[in-house]
Structures are given as structure tokens and as C-alpha cells.
């Protein structure tokens, strides 16, 4: 048995978060009635012409800056010619020889380590429409319905070098890219709606062989789980085919999540002759240094830099810093909370965000931007833990109360629900004296060496104060009285 090496390159189509389409003034909003967001340009009426959306170019520049790529001072739009009913002009406007973003790289986490995936390029292009094979309430008589609402939505196609060597690396790359495009605000990353779709070019070769094997392209992977499954299946299929003495033919394949298998597409047979040429309706895209600098100034601190800064500035573990920088919203939430809590509350804020808040959000299937507790509220609550106003236990009550909208701030809830910790040692002593007098049996048990009885007495004291007593203080007072 030979040993095989897997080689994977990924092409990602990220829909850009612009208001309007890349070459027309139609809206890009998802979910409209079929063909309502398709204007004369989008449906390619005779005589219409494209004009490039500045917002889409800005997204490409942001991406290029975020991956350390070269932003081409001059790039060219080309026509990619093929017939398909969801492609109204009979060609897709894309970039071919001169893309807007050249090179760059993305670091991906691999267990404790990190490795770098090199990018070949990223280019702007327009999305196609959608083919619908059935539609509730309509009778297509076995035909296909075409909805062009998506036609002309701006895409950034991000292409890697054949740099990945396993499905795990491919998925790690896709996740890192997904996080990055959302971080820099160029793509909403909604994979269900098709905003972020990956194609994986997969080939295998005997270990030690210099040239690549023949690749097959798995199209339209719209979840990380499917990506992993599809690549694993494809790799195993290619190895089995080769070991049986077969040959791999270059092909475009689709992954069927039902069967878990990949199969060759029957359409797009002319894939090898797109007859690219510069689009005569569009002039060269010229991007000057000044524009790039302006966008660089608006770019948020990037994930890796922010992660390192959070670790250094707030004394967080590398693991915590990484978790808190999985999205820009999460990182900003954390830092806003710390600002309200004070620097001493950083570690506590991190824990609250990663444990209690995350659990709550997961349970309610919300993301951080829809958090029921604002970062200022959470930070304010942490501040009260730090200054001893409430215990961590009471804080959980306050947190729940904030989640349920019972008050506008932790302070208000503590005051209105009387949750302030009892720190007056005189009052506490009186309470403990009464407790000892009423529980003579337990006192006797403790004195006879049963340590459990002590814990029971602490519990009684906490119960009597409805949790508001400081547990350490109760402990100390009991020891003193019994000792």
C-alpha cells in the first residue's frame, strides 16, 4: 500500500455586504419576491450597461489589506462567456488576468499550533441568479424557474494556493476566512443564505511525488461540516480509484449530503473554454495610494493583533484571548464590559462572557449582537463583585434579572431587590449568636469532630441572610464563636 498525500486548494465566494448590486442600483437584500430585485441591467435587457459600485471595491481593498496582499493599482474586468439560464447576459463579469487583490496570506489555527495558508488572489465578480426546480403553489410542468434577484450581487472570490494537506486544514482555513470577512465587515457570512460558499479543489499524489495529481473541484460547499465530509469522501474515492488502477479525470463535482457522496456535474461541459476577454463596457479599475490609505485608517484592529493585545493588556490566557476574538462583536463586547468594570474586572468579565453569557446565548440561539445584556450592564455587575457589594453567587441572580429585563443596571437590581451583601459584622454576629443558640445539636456534633456540621451551619447562616452574607466572613465568625 502506497502512502498518499492530499492536496487541497480552496476558492471562496464571499457575497459583499453592499446595499446595491455590483453593476446596478438594485438592492442586494435577501428574501424578496422572485425577480423583483432584478432591474433592467440585472435581467440584461438589450442595450443596458454596467457601472461599478464603489462599495464593492472598498470591500476588496479592505480584504486585501487584512491579508497583507498587494492592491493592484490597475485591474481589469473581463467577461467569462458561457450559457446558463441563471446567467442573463450569457457572460459573467469577473476579473481574470489582472485581479484587484494579489497574494496575501491567512494564519489558521491547527491545535496548539498555527500555520499559514498562502492566497493566490482575490477578485471582484457578479453573482448569478438562482434556478428553482419546484416552488410551492406554482406549476412548473417539470421545468426550471429562474429568479434573478441574486444576479449581480457583488462577490469577492478568494483563491488559495494548493496549500492544505487535509480536510481538517481546509476546514480550519475556511473557518478562519469566514471569521475574517465578518470581522472586517465585508460579508455577513450567512452560509444558509449562500453568502459564503466554498469550492474545494482536491487531488491526491503518492507521498514524495513532486507533481500534483489531477484535481476534481467540489462545488458550493455551504457548511463546514459538509466541507469536511465532502473532502473526506472525495479523498477516499480518489485513492480507491487510483489503487484500483483507475485514472482521475478533471471534473466538477457536487456533494450530496444525503448520501455523503460526491458526483460529477452533468452541466457546464464547456468549462474549459470561457473565452475571457476584457469587458469593453467597463474601463480599467484604478486604485490610488490615497484611497488605500484612507481605507486602512478605517480598518478595525485585525483578529491576530487584537488577540495578542487582549492577552497582554488584560492578562488573559492565550486560549481566552483567542476565544474572545472569534468575532469582532465578541471582542468589542468584552472590551466595553471591561471598560465599565474597571481593569481589575478583566478576568471576571472574560469568564462571564465566555461561560454564563455564551451559555445563555447558545440556549436562546442568539448571537452576541442580540445579547439581552449589554456589555455596560455586564461590566457594571462585575464592578459590584469586585468591590464586594455582591458575591459571585448573588451576581448570577443579578445576571438573570438583567437578562429578563428586570432592571436597567446591576445597581438598580441590587437596590430594588435588596441583594446587597451584609458586611456589617455587628449585625452578622448577632445573627450567628441566634443561630448557634437555636442549633445546639449541630454545635455539639461539630464539637465532637463532625466537620460536616460546620458546613451545615454556614448553610443555615447563608439561608437566613438569603445569600447576602459574605461567605468568608460567615466562616470566620463561626470559627471564632465555636473555637
Amino acid at each position: 500500500m502506497k502512502a498518499w498525500e492530499v492536496v487541497i486548494g480552496i476558492e471562496t465566494h464571499a457575497q459583499l455586504s453592499t446595499q446595491a448590486k455590483i453593476f446596478s442600483g438594485s438592492s442586494t437584500a435577501f428574501g424578496a419576491e422572485p425577480n423583483v430585485q432584478a432591474n433592467a441591467v440585472d435581467i440584461a435587457l438589450p442595450g443596458v450597461l454596467p457601472v461599478l459600485n464603489k462599495g464593492a471595491v472598498e470591500c476588496a481593498i479592505r480584504f486585501g489589506l487584512a491579508v497583507g496582499a498587494k492592491i493592484a493599482p490597475r485591474s481589469v474586468f473581463a467577461r467569462k462567456n458561457y450559457f446558463y439560464p441563471d446567467l442573463p447576459k450569457g457572460y459573467q463579469i469577473s476579473q481574470y488576468e489582472l485581479p484587484v487583490v494579489v497574494g496575501g496570506q491567512l494564519a489558521i489555527p491547527l491545535g496548539e499550533d498555527e500555520r499559514v495558508v498562502k492566497l493566490t488572489r482575490a477578485h471582484l465578480e457578479e453573482d448569478a441568479g438562482k434556478s428553482l426546480h419546484e416552488c410551492p403553489g406554482a406549476n412548473f410542468r417539470g421545468r426550471t424557474g429562474i429568479d434573478l434577484n441574486r444576479a449581480g450581487t457583488p462577490l469577492l472570490e478568494i483563491v488559495t494556493e494548493p496549500d492544505m494537506r487535509s480536510s481538517a486544514e481546509a476546514v480550519a482555513y475556511a473557518r478562519a476566512l469566514h471569521a475574517l470577512v465578518r470581522w472586517i465587515g465585508i460579508c455577513d457570512g450567512n452560509m444558509q443564505e449562500g453568502s459564503f460558499r466554498c469550492d474545494a479543489n482536491v487531488s491526491v499524489r503518492p507521498v514524495g511525488q513532486a507533481e500534483f495529481g489531477t484535481r476534481r473541484e467540489i462545488k458550493n460547499l455551504n457548511s463546514f461540516r459538509f466541507m469536511q465530509q465532502a473532502i473526506d469522501y472525495e479523498v477516499q474515492w480518489q485513492i480507491a480509484t487510483l489503487e484500483d488502477g483507475g485514472r482521475i479525470e478533471q471534473a466538477t463535482v457536487l456533494f450530496d449530503p444525503q448520501s455523503g457522496e460526491t458526483r460529477a456535474m452533468r452541466s457546464k461541459e464547456d468549462a474549459h473554454d470561457y473565452r475571457y476577454f476584457p469587458d469593453p463596457d467597463l474601463l480599467p479599475l484604478v486604485i490610488d495610494r490615497q484611497w488605500i490609505d484612507e481605507i486602512a485608517r478605517q480598518l478595525p484592529e485585525l483578529p491576530a493583533a487584537r488577540r495578542d493585545r487582549l492577552a497582554a493588556e488584560y492578562g488573559l490566557s492565550a486560549y481566552d484571548a483567542k476565544l474572545l476574538t472569534t468575532s469582532l462583536e465578541l471582542a468589542s463586547y468584552f472590551e466595553t464590559a471591561v471598560a465599565a468594570a474597571g481593569p481589575a474586572g478583566a478576568k471576571a468579565c472574560a469568564n462571564w462572557v465566555m461561560v454564563d453569557l455564551t451559555a445563555r446565548l447558545n440556549k436562546e440561539e442568539r448571537d452576541i449582537s442580540q445579547s439581552p445584556v449589554s456589555p455596560e450592564q455586564l461590566g457594571g455587575m462585575v464592578a459590584r463583585i469586585i468591590d464586594g457589594t455582591i458575591s459571585t453567587n448573588i451576581a448570577r441572580k443579578v445576571f438573570d434579572a438583567l437578562c429578563n429585563g428586570e432592571g436597567s443596571s446591576a445597581d438598580q437590581i441590587i437596590a430594588s431587590q435588596g441583594l446587597q451583601q451584609i458586611t456589617d459584622s455587628g449585625a452578622l454576629e448577632t445573627l450567628i449568636d441566634e443561630l448557634l443558640a437555636a442549633n445546639a445539636t449541630m454545635v455539639a456534633e461539630f464539637r465532637s469532630g463532625k466537620e460536616k456540621a460546620f458546613n451545615a451551619l454556614v448553610g443555615q447562616a447563608m439561608k437566613a441572610t438569603r445569600g447576602k452574607a459574605n461567605p468568608q466572613q460567615v466562616n470566620a465568625l463561626l470559627r471564632k464563636k465555636l473555637g
Binding site: E33, A38, N53, I146, D147, N149
Partner: protein, 98 residues
């Protein structure tokens, strides 16, 4: 150079134009005459000459990212009035097999 019959068929397929063998034969002759006219270009040394794609040497103008045409059902109806076949707001085509 001259084209072959097979190339005529291939190009016609790429262009999605049905062509019979007889038409292809006839077209082949015409295309070869036209290409003999075009071949005059090949004698010219154009090394170092920048290809000219546009009449004017200007940069692409950019539109602001603004929705200028909000979707309208009545506009869809107007567009689909000239469509060969529609249903429920969709353009219908023979079944697409992926």
C-alpha cells in the same frame, strides 16, 4: 491557416447555434475567406505594442453604494410581458440538470 469542419461545429456549439452539416460546410468556406483577410495582421510585428481595448485612456467611474431602484412588482410585470414563458414571477426554461 484554415479552419476544419470539426472546428466550425465546435465553435457553433460554444455559441449555441444549431448548424447542420451542409450549413457547416458552406460556413467553413466563408469563414476561411474571411480569415484569409484577417491573416494580413499576422505579418505585422507588434512586439512591445500595448493592446488597445478602449478608445479613451480613462479609468472606470464608480457609482456610490446606494439603491437607486427599489424592487417593484409592477416593474417585474412590465419586464415579463415580453418573456416567452413565466410562472409565479419566475422565468421558465427546460429543466436544468446539474
Amino acid at each position: 491557416m484554415s479552419l476544419t469542419l470539426e472546428q466550425v461545429h465546435r465553435v457553433a456549439h460554444l455559441a449555441r447555434i444549431e448548424i447542420s452539416d451542409g450549413e457547416a460546410q458552406n460556413t467553413l468556406g466563408q469563414l476561411n475567406e474571411i480569415f484569409s483577410l484577417i491573416e494580413a495582421m499576422q505579418a505585422v510585428d507588434t512586439q512591445g505594442v500595448e493592446p488597445m481595448a478602449h478608445a479613451q485612456d480613462v479609468a472606470q467611474r464608480l457609482r456610490a453604494d446606494r439603491v437607486t431602484e427599489p424592487g417593484r412588482i409592477d416593474q417585474r410585470s412590465a419586464f415579463q410581458e415580453v418573456a416567452p414563458e413565466t410562472e409565479a414571477g419566475l422565468y421558465l426554461v427546460p429543466k436544468v440538470i446539474e
